[in-house]
């Protein structure tokens, strides 16, 4: 915490350089060159670049898996080899790298214990996380029998088990089905809302575009461009208007207006994205309770992760629309840090009374989520509460712990 306030960046690299010598130590490959990365607390930073551009190498240096040839990398103002710092970081590598012979539950148990979580807290969190990533029924299956996407979900669960302040995610959605990808992205947004910082490293541009505040594009180990998604992607030359289905006459009028300014107006019906379409179909199948041996629907953010004050009232989309982008991050961070430390000092209290607290929080946070839903214009997001209602029905029928959905308070209260 002290370190955090001294240093304003969640991640900072100073002139970070990594040069790999070849086998003979002769001709050299420059993987990362003179990288100055500054990621503020409580933002989602998208780290982009083609294969071999040095993204993963940078992450490895941040995580002390590789030593920089030159320069320095700071995480939370220090080195990750300091247990005080690594206790606050969650990391999901590009491949899950989990022990295949351990079951999902044992895996989380293992990492939970490395984090030194007390038994009861650990147990509660493991159940919450398994529910959250949609693998509740598969907790006792060895990871070796999981598909890549399912292993990925466990990978994410282990990165979240310590309730980290900083998440470093390398290709988090690789191998995930579109449902999972969507849930993961929603989760990231929710986490950042609750004061966490995420470094998202990906070459799946759609993922990054949907959730990131700022992006940096790396090529050949050098940062090519860096900025907010809005700055970089805004097409200043065009205007898009979205309305419900209009009559022919109105359309004609609009065309005339456009023509009066000497512009042509293109009119077409919007298409569903394939992602949205897929989500719809699978949701439908789930409602009919088709049996599957694969991953179940996750429950979105829940349990100890949801048990946090929302420090970023506006959603990502709000931010994209609003002009004033980084209004209050530093002030908020100190609040966030004290909040994250509290459950660690009396964790039993925090996790055992999860449900109670959650229901209180739910009321507090009620205004936020409808707002978020309203701002999301795509048809899928309109439909999302439906999905979760269904999942909740299934879950609450069987369980009475903290797996309630924060985005859907009415349902929660009904059941209680």
């Amino acid at each position: 915490m002290v370190v955090m306030t001294e240093n304003q960046y969640a991640i900072e690299t100073i002139s970070l350089t990594k040069i790999f010598p070849d086998w003979w130590g002769r001709s050299k490959v420059i993987a990362v060159e003179d990288l100055n990365l500054k990621i503020k607390p409580n933002e989602i930073y998208g780290f982009l670049g083609p294969n071999g551009s040095g993204k993963t190498t940078t992450l490895k240096m941040l995580l002390n898996l590789l030593h920089p040839t030159k320069g320095a990398a700071f995480v939370m103002g220090g080195s990750i080899s300091n247990p005080k710092i690594s206790a606050r970081v969650g990391y999901l590598p590009e491949d899950s790298y989990l022990y295949k012979y351990l079951t999902a539950r044992e895996t989380l148990e293992f990492y939970g214990r490395i984090f030194g979580l007390p038994n009861d807290v650990r147990k509660a969190r493991i159940e919450t996380l398994l529910e959250m990533v949609g693998l509740a029924g598969m907790g006792n299956r060895p990871i070796g029998t999981f598909s890549k996407g399912m292993a990925r979900r466990i990978g994410l669960a282990q990165a979240l088990i310590n309730d980290p302040d900083l998440l470093i995610l390398d290709e988090p959605t690789s191998g995930m089905d579109p449902m999972g990808t969507r849930q993961m992205k929603d989760l990231f947004v929710e986490l950042v809302k609750r004061g966490k910082t995420i470094l998202l490293c990906s070459h799946l541009l759609a993922d990054v575009e949907d959730v990131c505040d700022r992006i940096g594009i790396l090529y050949g180990g050098k940062m090519q461009i860096e900025g907010t998604v809005k700055e970089l992607l805004l097409q200043k030359e065009e205007t898009q208007i979205r309305v419900a289905k209009l009559s022919e006459q109105s359309l004609q009028k609009m065309k005339e207006i456009a023509a009066s300014e000497g512009k042509t107006l293109g009119i077409e019906n919007p298409m569903d994205k394939l992602e949205s379409f897929f989500v719809k179909i699978v949701t439908h199948a789930r409602q009919q309770k088709r049996r599957t041996s694969g991953a179940d629907a996750g429950t979105g953010i829940s349990g100890f992760l949801a048990d946090k004050p929302v420090v970023r009232e506006e959603t990502i989309l709000d931010k994209l629309v609003s002009a004033n982008i980084q209004a209050e991050p530093e002030a908020e961070v100190s609040v966030d840090v004290t909040q994250t430390e509290t459950p660690r000092s009396k964790p039993v209290d925090a996790d055992n009374q999860l449900l109670q607290k959650l229901s209180q929080r739910t009321v507090e946070s009620t205004p936020i989520n409808p707002a978020a839903a309203n701002n999301k214009s795509s048809p899928v997001k309109e439909e999302k509460p439906e999905v979760k209602k269904d999942v909740l029905n299934e879950l609450i029928g069987k369980k009475d712990d903290g797996q309630t959905e924060i985005t859907h308070p009415e349902k929660n209260q009904e059941e209680e």
Partner: protein, 489 residues
């Protein structure tokens, strides 16, 4: 039929024991919440779930009880016990050593190779703690497997007298010679005096110009020396030889049931036609003959025995004086023998403890060896890949098995290449572990010899606290410094 039932029973008990112990270990490891224990638990579970452990398990579970039925030794009960225990302990020690090498080399290198390490080292656990956790897991596995097979072997050894219908005399002999823990005292030849004598003879020959032609000086010296040694050892017909022992510390020497044992083997200059010689032994404080007056007993044993096999007889312990002095005399009766007799490996043995206690210490000795191998494997894989580390470990293990032989074999180098030998080869050989001679389990159990606690502790001290610790610290240091990720661009 009886044996079959016993065998099945054995396997059943062994399996139950195994399951119970793995369960218990899992439970115990599940209690702690420290990172080291978590790593140890994962390492342990991995090894348990690896097929190599199962293979060794099956191999031992099948081989051990089977051996108790098949192996006969020289046909006597003691022979059976000796063969079974020496093969059994040897097999357990060897297979567990190989298993330990494999697992300890595998566990960390596999984490590095498959990048499991990325997830572990980025969490709040120090790298040296990780190495230590790995070691702890491997050592726990060793402990369980060793306890398991040690118990099976122990059960087997105790069962052998019960299932073999040996006569009472053999059972009694087994009790005295096998199911015991005895300390053996061996007289040492005064090599200094013998060398001196050889030198004098050499000088004498030289002055008389009788040195054989065409022989190097060192060869003549060597021959003279061995002649002197032979002279000192051999007993011509009509002659007598006395060995003196001091510090024979016997518990309850006045107890009529306490006995001491004299063990020896005959060599002869000319093999008698029936292969038998007569020996007249006197045991006690022989100084009393000259001084006059008898305070302690002197026992006489006369027997006719085969040459070239080890024999043993017992006399009451009150032959030893109160200050721990004992003399053993052998007389070659010219009326009965016509050949020079060389009684070799004369040894006085006396009981110091129980077989069970001794067996336990022997198992601890094996455990020390396994811990060292675990440290070696893990320390090596902090910077070496699996195949190289396992090759290295296996080499070290085999050198350890013949370490004394190597030292003996290259002792001669000490004279010609003093610096190389003393400052390079000797330290290396010292640093390599010793698994042979008095460091191997069979050395004690087969002859019912006491493995003393002092020796055990000094072995633990040198093998683990010095060599092991140095290796471990080096491994931890290297692992803390190295890059654990591969260079991928």
């Amino acid at each position: 039929m009886n044996n079959l039932i016993l065998f099945v029973l054995f396997c059943l008990i062994a399996s139950l024991l195994y399951l119970f112990m793995t369960w218990l270990t899992g439970l115990v490891l599940g209690l702690g919440s420290s990172g080291i224990v978590a790593v140890a638990k994962v390492t342990f579970s991995h090894a348990i779930r690896m097929k190599i452990a199962v293979v060794v398990l099956l191999l031992l579970i099948v081989l051990l009880p089977l051996m108790s039925m098949i192996i006969d030794g020289d046909g006597t009960l003691v022979g059976k016990l000796q063969t079974f225990s020496s093969y059994g302990l040897g097999l357990v020690g060897f297979l567990l050593s190989i298993l330990t090498i494999a697992i300890s080399c595998f566990t960390l290198s596999n984490d590095l190779k498959r990048n499991h390490i990325y997830l572990t080292v980025t969490k709040p656990i120090r790298r040296f703690e990780l190495v230590f956790g790995k070691l702890l897991g491997t050592v726990l596995l060793n402990l369980i497997l060793l306890t398991l097979f040690g118990s099976i072997l122990y059960g087997g050894i105790l069962l052998i007298p019960l299932i073999s219908d040996a006569p009472h005399s053999e059972t009694a002999r087994a009790k005295h010679e096998f199911f015991t823990a005895r300390i053996g005292l061996k007289p040492e030849l005064d090599m200094e005096t013998l060398s001196q004598k050889a030198r004098e003879r050499f000088e004498a020959l030289k002055t008389k110009k009788q040195l054989p032609e065409g022989m190097s000086v060192s060869r003549v010296m060597a021959e003279l020396h061995s002649e002197e040694v032979m002279k000192a050892k051999s007993v011509a017909p009509g002659r007598q030889k006395v060995w003196e022992f001091e510090n024979v510390r016997i518990k309850n020497p006045q107890d009529p049931n306490t006995v001491i044992f004299i063990r020896y083997k005959y060599q002869t200059s000319v093999e008698p036609s029936d292969g038998q010689v007569f020996g007249q032994w006197r045991i006690g404080d022989l100084r009393q003959y000259d001084a006059g007056g008898m305070t302690t007993q002197i026992y006489g044993i006369d027997r006719q025995e085969a040459t070239r096999t080890v024999h043993e007889f017992a006399v009451p312990a009150d032959a030893v004086t109160s200050d721990g002095y004992l003399a053993v005399a052998f007389r070659n009766d010219p009326g009965l023998n016509r050949t020079v007799i060389i009684p070799e490996d004369v040894e006085v043995l006396y009981r110091t403890g129980t077989f069970t206690g001794n067996y336990f210490r022997v198992i601890v000795l094996i455990f020390v060896q396994l811990i060292f191998l675990s440290i070696l494997g893990i320390a090596l894989t902090t910077f070496l890949s699996f195949p190289i580390a396992i090759l290295f470990s296996v080499s070290v293990f085999f050198v350890g098995l013949i370490n004394f032989f190597i030292i003996d074999a290259i002792e001669a180098l000490g004279k010609t290449m003093f610096i190389v030998y003393n400052f390079i080869i000797k330290p290396i050989l010292w640093f390599l572990p010793h698994f042979d001679q008095m460091y191997q389990p069979g050395w004690y159990i087969v002859d019912g010899k006491t493995l003393e606690w002092t020796f055990l502790f000094s072995t633990i001290g040198t093998t683990l606290c010095i060599k092991g610790l140095l290796l471990l610290l080096a491994g931890m240091f290297i692992f803390s410094r190295r890059e654990v990720a591969k260079a991928v661009v």
